[in-house]
Symmetry: C2
DNA sequence: GCATCTGTTTGATCTATGTCAAGGAAATCG
DNA sequence: CGATTTCCTTGACATAGATCAAACAGATGC
């Protein structure tokens, strides 16, 4: 049974949890906080390839080295299982594997949505999309649909946003300023965002679909 | 048993198999030929989000509308299962679900590799990466590792390549010409590629890892 | 209260890639 | 066979976003 073999680990904001290529003998799920998966090229160019929110799963059964850097963006608590033990549970409990398949398919959909963003959206659309994604996720925690006026805190630095969106941090900053000037968002301090009209934001994001990354 | 419920469908090159949003009551796997998954924005911008090669799986158990456009790039033969029947088999045969999980995890890795390409690589690196991916896949069919001198046919038009890479078809064309001028690749006609030195190509692709999209 | 540090904003310029346009090459059709 | 169509290449020019550089704002420490 899964309960019997789990243990917890906590990390501080900014800390790298595993480096790509490291041996990784556990799998885990996020309990609280935010972590990112990213890939880095030799010359330092970096791309975030996953955003881990509470309940998200990290690690791959049947592989023993990490494929990505995993970094805690905020203080983070993870619930871990030794990989071997987890694999045993997966074999004896088909339900666990089924749930994992479902989650993996959701992640694949999110990754594909993200590919459209990276490949085809303008910088302004990218920023609007990211803000919409975070607003949706934030609302989902309160079991709501975002609608009308919405407020929340950005859990990412400008640099993290640029890694996410395939932009430079300067461009991220400029586009946030532009969206503010145009009344699409309202910014208090550096991180606190208010969206006066969520539909307007969605329009700016260029999403025809619901854009429902994390719904 | 899966054998009992499968049936085949074939499609011509260029034909769209399903449109995003269509009802899709089957799942399938590619027997021969190549298909693509793509997303399109209202104004026509398009991004390929998946490349389906023989043995790849399409469709999502537990969802009844297609999330992407599926298009046959070459003549295509698919092996199909009614979704309901397939789901029943998945429940009664854990092994099928496990295999599907493994394939989905591989696809997720490929999607993430692709995100690095879309977000951070230059046009030249993108083209080199795509050619390397296709060369690898082609070699894999012959159970080989690509090495030294390699030849094969591009199964994609310039436009399909641009949809894949988040570029315009003109940029694709120019970069292919540039790689040819620089002796990285050799092009006969429009589609036949020879790579005189595979390692050189990998260098141009900017991959630190093995870039092993489809290995 | 002042100095320092980190994260952010803004400005001036540069450049890779997009856009628009024309023409070439190979396949298909009459 | 020439005519048409489709796909590709190449050129000239425009522009979104990158790069380089400076300054600002809010923490933190002394």
């Amino acid at each position: 049974m899964l309960e019997a073999i789990k243990f917890y680990r906590s990390f501080e904001a900014g800390q790298t949890i595993v480096w790509s290529g490291d041996r990784m003998d556990f799998v885990a799920s996020v309990v609280s906080g935010i972590a990112t998966l990213s890939q880095t090229m030799e010359d330092g160019r970096r791309q975030m390839v996953g955003l881990l929110l509470p309940s998200d799963f990290v690690g791959r059964p049947g592989r023993d080295t990490a494929a990505y850097d995993v970094t805690a963006t905020t203080d983070l608590l993870m619930c871990c299982f030794r990989k071997k033990a987890f694999e045993d549970v997966m074999i004896s409990t088909p339900h666990v594997g089924q749930r994992l398949l479902e989650m993996t398919l959701d992640e694949l959909d999110a990754a594909r949505e993200w590919m459209l963003l990276l490949g085809r959206k303008t910088a302004r659309e990218k920023i609007a999309s990211l803000i919409a994604i975070i607003a949706r996720r934030d609302a989902a925690l309160k079991l709501m649909e975002p609608q009308g006026r919405v407020s929340f805190d950005l859990p990412l630095s400008r640099e993290a946003m640029s890694d996410y969106l395939g932009l430079t941090l300067e461009t991220v900053s400029r586009q946030i300023s532009a969206l503010r000037r145009d009344g699409v968002i309202d910014v208090k301090g550096k991180r606190q965002i208010t969206i006066p009209d969520f539909d307007r934001l969605i329009e700016e994001a260029g999403d025809d679909s619901d854009g429902g990354f994390l719904t």
